[in-house]
């Protein structure tokens, strides 16, 4: 790290690490120093590196460094067929892998004019919502652990395993699913799918009450999160934030409402909004989102139709020349797929719009002026997945 040799001498401007904008304050008694957080750090949720400029314990400036898990997915996509690209999206935001798959499938369907049968659409919605709950459960556990409550981690994972087991029966995988295909899904759901979903739904109602009792009104949670890391509505839009991060700041933006895909327009659900955009609002929005997902699952399970789970499979997916865009709402926000096709078997350019990249961008504004412990709470409630940022 570029620390000056003498601690009393203010860092000259040219010695500032890259990305820092502020000049050395030079005020008497200022004790500014730089601290490296990551790339190996338990609360950065992966290999994210934050260079923090601190004055005592107060954060002056934060500069994130990305790319420690940049895996060249977009370059690889140019030499794989469209269906082969699906498995790479699993590994981007691995806690929303079903929904990422869905985004790519929708772009292919849009380009080739493929429809999805009724049962296939229901499977898509139900699996997406299960995935959302599963992802939020993991976030809840990790959030508790970041604030020092290991109990939450164990409780969150215990509930999550039930949904993971269901996914395993569905597609054989616990994490990297690769289940959806253009025109439906890889396989039909197992026979006991609906009873098991209903069982999970009933348990979730009880579990969410339990979780709320455990952590939501906990004085430590509240004092660590309320008024911490506030993001205004205007800044959230300007940064392109999406998902719970944007909604906690009062941006009424949910792709399921804004540009309803699959059959989301048939179900009743609310889009929970926050007012202050602080860590506590982000926490509350996610907790409420799980309830709304439960609502959607209940409605879908009540009218789950019989019939084929997929449309006719094409031997080869060859997209007409042109560019195609699709967007879905993952557990973290808007996941966009932009395909540029030259009419060949493989995409000419394929770009995935990651929600996490935009959600992490305002961290410098959110953390400035707070304590370094608040930075951990902010990172935790942003719920970032680093491989999705780096791709």
């Amino acid at each position: 790290m570029n620390t000056p040799s003498s601690p009393s001498a203010p860092a000259p401007e040219h010695r500032l690490p890259p990305g820092f904008a502020l000049h050395a304050s030079g005020a008497d008694g200022s004790q500014e120093y730089f601290l490296n957080m990551g790339p190996q750090h338990p609360s950065t949720h992966g290999v994210l590196k934050l260079v923090v400029r601190l004055d005592g314990e107060t954060v002056v400036e934060v500069v994130p460094h990305l790319g420690f898990i940049h895996r060249a997915i977009e370059k690889m996509g140019e030499s794989e067929t469209y269906v082969q690209y699906l498995h790479l999206t699993d590994r981007m935001d691995y806690l929303s892998s079903h929904i990422n798959n869905l985004g790519v499938c929708m772009a292919i369907e849009k380009a080739m004019g493929i429809g999805v049968p009724e049962r296939g659409e229901y499977i898509r919605v139900m699996v997406s919502e299960l995935q959302r709950i599963q992802s939020h459960l993991l976030w809840w556990g990790a959030f508790g652990m970041d604030l020092g409550a290991v109990t939450a981690f164990l409780y969150g994972f215990k509930e999550r395993e039930k949904i993971t087991a269901l996914f395993e029966d569905l597609c054989g995988a616990r994490l990297t699913m690769n289940y959806f295909r253009p025109g439906g899904s890889n396989a039909d759901v197992p026979e006991n799918f609906i009873p098991r979903v209903l069982e999970i739904v009933e348990e979730m109602k009880f579990t969410l009450d339990e979780f709320n009792a455990l952590l939501s009104a906990n004085p430590i949670t509240i004092s660590r999160t309320q008024g911490v890391g506030a993001l205004s509505r205007e800044r959230a839009i300007s940064y392109g934030c999406s998902g719970p991060v944007a909604r906690a700041s009062g941006v009424n933006f949910d792709v399921r409402r804004h540009a309803p895909y699959s059959i989301y327009d048939r179900f009743e659900f609310d889009v929970p909004l926050g007012q202050n955009g602080d860590c506590y609002d982000r926490y509350r929005v996610r907790m409420e989102e799980m309830r709304q997902s439960v609502r959607i699952l209940e409605q879908a399970a009540a009218s789950f139709p019989e019939g084929p789970h997929r449309a006719k499979e094409k031997p080869v997916y060859k997209l007409p020349a042109g560019s195609y865009f699709s967007s879905v709402e993952t557990a973290r926000g808007m996941f966009g797929t932009y395909i540029v096709s030259d009419g060949g078997l493989k995409p000419y350019r394929i770009k995935s719009r990651s929600p996490n990249l935009s959600n992490l961008a305002p961290i410098a504004e959110m953390a400035a002026g707070g304590k370094i412990a608040d930075l951990v709470a902010i990172l935790s409630t942003l719920d970032i997945i680093v491989p999705d940022i780096d791709r």
Partner: protein, 432 residues
């Protein structure tokens, strides 16, 4: 002492040696060390979630004496490499390994850390096996491996440690220095030899069978019939907000040079055959009335895709953002396309209030350092998107406050998403 006559007996590794002076000490040290592993908190990607699941309530790795995961390498003696190792992370991983006090052990969890896994081919950033950087003791295949597999891997490591005792525990083990090759091509070559041998043996066997069973008529093979599915008509999904023709009318008033990018072909039959044809595709240049009619004919599912001259680029985006009717206040993404003879900078905008989208593209000459104005004064989020486009395509955004590479190392040679990018030292081309 173990009673040999008893029906139950411990497996050999768990029985303390009965002779010698140092052997029992070895055994005790090995036993203690194997059952008090201190793993480092090191997860880079997907496998980390399975590692967390292994530590959580259902699988509970505390049963095997390794629940004390440490965040500092100085307190740990085991790295579970959970997730892909990239070149940028590589030097940090070596540092972490060096910071651990010996004896130290490494488990490679998942396909990426074994060989690069799904990221082996056409990849300029992933290390092809973590054992090229640090010595690895146990490999666990899977993508990701299940928690049970990780527990099995840990038990294998414990077996190794118990066998090793204390005397040979701090050994400098070599790392993998074999040249990076194309395993697919090598395997195919090996297969050819095996296949030829197999064919020969089959031929012999068939002849022998014919001689032994002259009356054999053969069997009818019943194939499993795959279920047939019908084609389904796509559901129309109209775009929300303002009609695309309305948006175009608004824009063409102020920006007469604006053109609509080639309207996508609706029929799948008209598929372009090669890249060159597409690369030279020109935008539609017709009187506005016809273009508006054409846009209206595309229906409500079509999203307006306009091509703008570099001079009008920033004013157009500013107008799109600030116009009271349009209100395109949300930057979905900013990226680029390399068309081999030009670069297209592509900007996707959305109105959070009304819901309509507009795609803007701006062609730049295909030179080493193409330049365009930065949008970071309009959208705070454009900062990182532009840094990404600079990193991948080498497009310079003038007026950008901090134009550095976003993902790759500063000394990375070239811009990887350019079509003419080559990096033979790292990239193995996909053989199929």
């Amino acid at each position: 002492m173990i009673d040999k006559s008893a029906e139950f007996s411990l497996p050999p590794g768990l029985v303390p040696p009965q002779s010698g002076l140092l052997q029992p000490v070895d055994w005790i040290v090995g036993w203690a060390r194997a059952n008090s592993l201190w793993p480092l908190v090191f997860g880079t990607s997907c496998c980390a979630i399975e590692m967390m699941a292994t530590g959580a309530s259902d699988n509970d790795w505390a049963r095997f004496g390794l629940e004390v995961a440490r965040a500092s390498p100085r307190q740990a003696d085991l790295i579970i490499l959970a997730g892909t190792i990239t070149e940028k992370m590589g030097s940090r991983l070596v540092t972490l390994h060096e910071q651990m006090p010996g004896p130290k052990y490494v488990i490679a969890m998942g396909a990426c850390t074994i060989s690069g896994g799904p990221f082996y081919y056409d990849n300029y950033s992933v290390v092809k096996g973590a054992d090229r950087l640090i010595p690895v003791d146990v490999y666990i295949p899977g993508c990701p491996p299940r928690p049970e597999a990780l527990l099995y891997g840990v038990m294998q490591l414990q077996k190794l440690i118990r066998a090793g005792g204390w005397r040979n525990s701090i050994v400098h083990r070599p790392v993998n220095v074999s040249p990076i090759t194309d395993p697919m091509a090598e395997t195919l070559k090996e297969w050819e030899v095996i296949e030829a041998k197999k064919q020969e043996e089959m031929k012999e066997a068939k002849e022998r069978f014919k001689l032994e069973n002259p009356d054999y008529k053969g069997v009818v093979i019943k194939r499993i019939v795959a279920p047939k599915y019908d084609e389904v008509a796509p559901t129309p999904r109209p775009e929300r907000g303002l009609a695309q023709a309305e948006i175009f009318a608004n824009l063409s008033e102020r920006f007469p040079s604006l053109r609509v990018h080639a309207l996508p072909e609706k029929s799948a039959e008209k598929v372009a055959d090669n890249v060159a044809e597409v690369a030279t595709e020109t935008s539609v240049e017709k009187p506005i009335e016809t273009v508006t009619e054409k846009i209206t004919a595309m229906g409500r599912e079509y999203v307006l895709d306009v091509a703008v001259e570099p001079a009008d680029y920033l004013p157009l985006i500013r107008h799109l953002r600030d116009d009271t009717d349009l209100q395109l206040d949300y930057l979905i993404e900013l990226t680029a396309i390399d068309w081999k003879d030009r670069y297209d900078v592509v900007v996707h905008l959305l109105s959070t209030d009304k819901g309509h989208k507009v795609f803007v593209r701006c062609a730049l000459p295909h030179v080493e350092a193409p330049e365009i104005e930065s949008l970071s004064s309009l959208f705070a989020g454009a900062n990182w998107h532009e840094r990404e486009a600079y990193d991948f395509f080498g497009i310079r955004f003038t007026g950008h406050p901090d134009l550095r590479r976003l993902f790759l190392e500063d000394d990375f040679p070239g811009h990887p998403l350019r079509k003419d990018f080559e990096y033979p030292e790292r990239v193995v081309k996909r053989p199929y």
